[in-house]
Symmetry: C2
Subunit: 303 residues, 2 copies
Amino acid sequence: MLKVPEHQVAGHLAVDGKLGPLVDDSGRFYKPLQGDGRGNKELAFYESFSSDTRVPDHIRKYFPVCYGSQLLEASNGSGLLHHLVLQDIVSSHRNPSIMDVKIGSRTWYPEASDNYIQKCLEKDRRTTTVSLGFRIAGLQLYEGKESGYWRPGRKEVQSFTVYNVRSILRRFVSSNSSIGNENSDCSFAPSIYGGSAGILEQLLELKAWFEDQTIYHFHSCSLLIFFDKESVSKGSASVPEIKLIDFAHVVEGKGVIDHNFLGGLCSLIKFVSEVLSDSKESSIKDRVESEKPGICTDNGNCQ
Amino acid sequence: MLKVPEHQVAGHLAVDGKLGPLVDDSGRFYKPLQGDGRGNKELAFYESFSSDTRVPDHIRKYFPVCYGSQLLEASNGSGLLHHLVLQDIVSSHRNPSIMDVKIGSRTWYPEASDNYIQKCLEKDRRTTTVSLGFRIAGLQLYEGKESGYWRPGRKEVQSFTVYNVRSILRRFVSSNSSIGNENSDCSFAPSIYGGSAGILEQLLELKAWFEDQTIYHFHSCSLLIFFDKESVSKGSASVPEIKLIDFAHVVEGKGVIDHNFLGGLCSLIKFVSEVLSDSKESSIKDRVESEKPGICTDNGNCQ
């Protein structure tokens, strides 16, 4: 039984008779191959990538597994259509908080047409792509049983400023996210962004690869960052995950590193590490405050 | 006595009645303040930079010293004009080989006008700026007493391809540069690119700062890389140098790293480290070859 993915935060949704990806109960994600060649380019990337022995195993885990392509009834009722069959990467999570972060200070590639470049450039300048080297392309934040998810609409997402992005990166790892950006407590930052299996370490592992690999240039590709807030709240071990997705605009690296992706990745790393160090500082401050025996006034009286 | 700089490899030259920088015999470099506000922006940058205590000393050494501004007779005979007074960074070198490498995959900044952005973008796409994240903006290679310098003209420099850039980075550290790119021996690579005071280590020191600093964004800024081939040939200790120059388009970082500069810097680092490791491999190969007692053929005869 195919159905609309519950946790898709960006891209075309298979609702209201539109074409979009579908999932099944066995953990597979079916992405329709778009007719303009992009679908075939993405399939070609997965085929090339999966057989490329130059990609080390510790990097391969950041990519969804691809099971080839399959003819399926399209979600828009237009009949049989080829779909890319991928691992449904969030299927094992019950209430995942997810950020889709499109990496790079440009989403276009040198070989593209002038029209395509102008269209991308215009959007890159309008969003935080040019200023930050990345933009948030979609997100959902789980805020508890009662409030459910915060999932801003496409227009709101596209209007995110640098200030908004900074707030969202804090709110993403806060226990009190629903009460407003300014007061985000970042209480999950040490366990989600920090630690040896945390988001920051994973980003740094990717960065080391991007400093060296000259095989692929990943244009308009996203990092999907996700974790299960409920399991973290309950203290159970939930490892936050990162996957790279959307490879319709990957081109050959031809011996040059992907400096566009790498620059954006370093910018994201700086933002994430700032949230982490802020949270550590405030927790030290809290501890010092709570351990203080009392406040001494000028006349020597302790309160 | 002011004169035209002998070793200027890019930018406007003070020849044929044109406006350009001048130098004196005391090691100072006088750069005319351009009327369109760029000169004042560069002066403002130097003033802000020199008093900014957030810039560590080990980074400050990569910037020319600035001595303020001074009214001087302009080189084009137009009368008195304000000039930026800078350290003449190559004045202590007799026959410097110099590369001017403009860093970043875009030379424009988000706040610029649409016209300016389109003009820069067009040039960035035409050169290696977009593909490599940097372009060579000018160079001179000292090739010995008889042949003097190889100093390609502006048009030739602007037409450099990725292939040309790779060749030049090899030729820059070769003893046999004049006999053609393919055969560059890269014999100076270990002493110029390599070693604890070499170009690669200096680039890595800059990289570490750019991964962290959010004070400035250096648009359309160059790394000047230079050394004295003659002293290296003679075995005397000549430390290769790097200086950042051209700050007319520096803008405030506003808490974001300069991902555009950093990405291009990482791309250059990859190119330089490849020349270095190739040169090490070939010198090992040479040693192994020279130590071989002879070549044994299938029938056991040694030649």
